[in-house]
């Protein structure tokens, strides 16, 4: 969230005309917009509610001495509360957009409005376009199809093949299986719709009537960002689980860091380069493009180093990231952008140092 907000603050400024058109569209029909938001979020909740309902009938809770009528009543109440909460969120989003009309479309209003629109619409449309059957298959306990399992490119084990025939690249570190674990988790999450739903709000900018080049640039920018977000999340999940499962082995923290850094770091660099390229294609100067790439690397590096330092607590990672990135934004807003960047890299290096000496 912090990374999203920062990117919206820092990098979507030049795209204000596109967001202005979208906000104006929503403001023209606030009632319909509210209804649409509620509907989309209601649809978004259908899958987990279905799972909950099925579990209450077929899972271990079915053995509880609770009559079906009581279960149904509890489910209805849960649905009602969810709907009210979602409508409240939608209303808050519209309110923020209405406020944005009276304010210049920069800074806080742009960031808040863009964040809310992206979150609410992305979540709703993501549900509509999610891969069919994955949630049901998970509930039944049957294996997911290979396209969701991200298994098709799994290398066979070295011990089953002549030595040297297949070798994982050395840059993946001394425990290359950890990079495979992160990669598969990231691919599965992406194919399962966890990452690419963030792209959908971009297509709503089509009514802005901008040139195809701008739209393509936006889509590429969004794709890179969504993929990076997905990779960082998946890597943090995988390395947290790996740290737990390897806890009783004598591996060193340095070995662990060397093994879990290459995958997300390589994707971070690629995303930063893509970001710079897209911004350059959109007409931003080379200096601006390079600055944007540096910001992406600094913030992504900060998040990555925090996930290494506190591998078992996502809450702690996020809290620290939020606090530190807020400090960096405040510094940048005071005109100390260069200092903020330096500080971001320094903090990332410090967290990495602590992570390498964790055990």
């Amino acid at each position: 969230m912090a990374l999203t907000a920062l990117l919206l603050f820092g990098l979507l400024g030049p795209l204000a005309p596109q967001l202005r058109a979208l906000i104006a569209l929503l403001q023209s029909w606030p009632g319909l917009s509210l209804l649409a938001l509620g509907l989309l979020l209601g649809l978004r909740q259908r899958a987990p509610l279905q799972r909950f309902e099925r579990h209450s009938r077929e899972g271990w809770t079915a053995a509880l001495p609770v009559c079906p009528a009581l279960q149904r009543a509890a489910l209805r109440r849960c649905v009602l509360q969810q709907a009210l909460l979602q409508l409240g969120l939608g209303a808050a989003g519209l309110l923020a957009l209405t406020m944005a009309r009276t304010l210049p479309l920069t800074g806080l209003s742009l960031g808040l409005g863009g964040l809310l629109v992206a979150t609410l619409l992305g979540a709703g449309l993501g549900w509509v376009l999610r891969p069919r059957g994955s949630a049901e298959a998970l509930t039944r306990g049957t294996p997911l199809p290979s396209r969701v399992r991200a298994w098709t490119t799994a290398p066979r084990g070295l011990d089953a093949l002549p030595r040297g025939l297949i070798a994982l690249p050395r840059w993946l570190g001394p425990l290359p299986q950890l990079a495979q674990w992160q990669r598969r988790d990231a691919i599965r999450a992406w194919r399962g719709g966890r990452g690419w739903v963030w792209l959908l709000p971009l297509w709503l900018m089509i009514p802005a009537g901008e040139a195809g080049q701008v739209l393509l640039g936006l889509a590429l920018f969004g794709a890179g960002f969504a993929w990076l977000r997905n990779v960082l999340d998946a890597s943090a999940r995988a390395l947290g689980a790996a740290d737990r499962v390897l806890a009783a082995t004598p591996y060193s923290s340095r070995t662990f860091c060397r093994s879990v850094l290459p995958y997300p770091l390589s994707r971070l660099l690629a995303a930063a380069l893509a970001c710079a390229g897209v911004l350059a294609a959109l007409g931003a100067g080379l200096a601006m493009a390079m600055l944007a790439a540096t910001v992406v690397i600094a913030l992504g590096g900060l998040e990555l180093s925090l996930s290494l330092r506190f591998p078992r607590s996502r809450a702690r990672q996020r809290l620290r990231l939020l606090a530190e990135s807020t400090l960096l934004v405040l510094l940048a807003q005071q005109g100390l952008g260069a200092l903020a960047l330096l500080l971001a890299f320094a903090r990332a290096a410090w967290h990495l140092h602590r992570a390498r000496n964790r055990r």
Binding site: Q177, A247, P250
Partner: protein, 244 residues
């Protein structure tokens, strides 16, 4: 193992509190090389917590744990290098194959490759055909086999196994029991938390009873021989009597 080498496991006054409640209290015992020890006790008596403490997975309260002379608190890496601990089957990485898990743990233990003996044991347990399948499609028993294989990688001097026979089919359970007996004969010390009294009665050479976090009773090799010789007596009945 020569007499001058430190014993594989020594516990001195080990205590543990979780959530403010005492889980283990003043546990003290030693395991010599070749000891095959069953840790028995009712549910919630602290067997799994004791194994996790020894493996250094719980913060140690008062007390010390030494593995082959290395203090778990002071020299964790050196101590863990001498230790094999079977991972909780539910925590195995779902997105890796069994072979990749073996490679990962082998590398984490400093081994260049998965030892041939582990692959032979995999064959004996009927696990070979699952080696290249992702862990997420494994049944409970298959996960258990992998967890045991990971714990036994490299034949460390001390093995900690928590209910390793759970979910295993009879041929696999038999093969595992035979393998553990062979490992003990070759000098590994094995501490095995189990409810399988039959295993404890037939195969181990010591048994420890843990009740409410306290070591209530111990049976030496001579005690177990006496129980085996007398069909009117059993470890089960003695255990129930000792639990009060």
């Amino acid at each position: 193992m020569s007499q001058t080498q430190p014993c594989p496991l020594a516990l001195y006054g080990l205590s543990l509190q979780l959530g403010g409640k005492p889980v283990l209290q003043q546990i003290a015992f030693e395991l010599a090389a070749g000891d095959f020890v069953a840790l028995v006790g009712p549910n919630g008596s602290g067997k799994s917590s004791l194994l996790r403490c020894i493996a250094g997975l719980h913060p140690l309260a008062p007390g010390r744990v030494q593995i082959c002379g290395h203090d778990v608190s002071l020299a964790a890496a050196a101590a863990r290098a001498q230790l094999g601990y079977a991972v909780d089957p539910a925590a195995l990485p779902a997105l890796l194959s069994g072979r990749e898990c073996l490679q990962l743990f082998a590398h984490a233990r400093g081994l260049a490759a998965v030892p041939a003996e582990s692959l032979q044991l995999a064959e004996a347990l009927g696990f070979s055909r699952w080696l290249d399948e992702p862990v997420e499609v494994y049944s409970l028993g298959t996960r258990q086999k992998l967890a045991v294989l990971l714990g036994l990688l490299g034949q460390p001097p001390l093995l900690l196994l928590d209910e390793p026979l759970n979910g295993l089919d009879p041929p696999s359970a038999w093969a595992l029991k035979q393998h553990l007996v062979e490992l003990a004969e070759r000098g590994s010390a094995i501490l095995l938390a189990t409810h399988a009294i039959e295993l404890a009665e037939r195969h181990v050479n010591r048994a420890l009873l843990l009740v409410d976090g306290e070591l209530r009773k111990q049976w030496t090799a001579a005690d177990l021989q006496r129980l085996r010789a007398n069909p009117q007596q059993s470890l089960e009945s003695e255990m129930v009597a000792a639990m009060g």
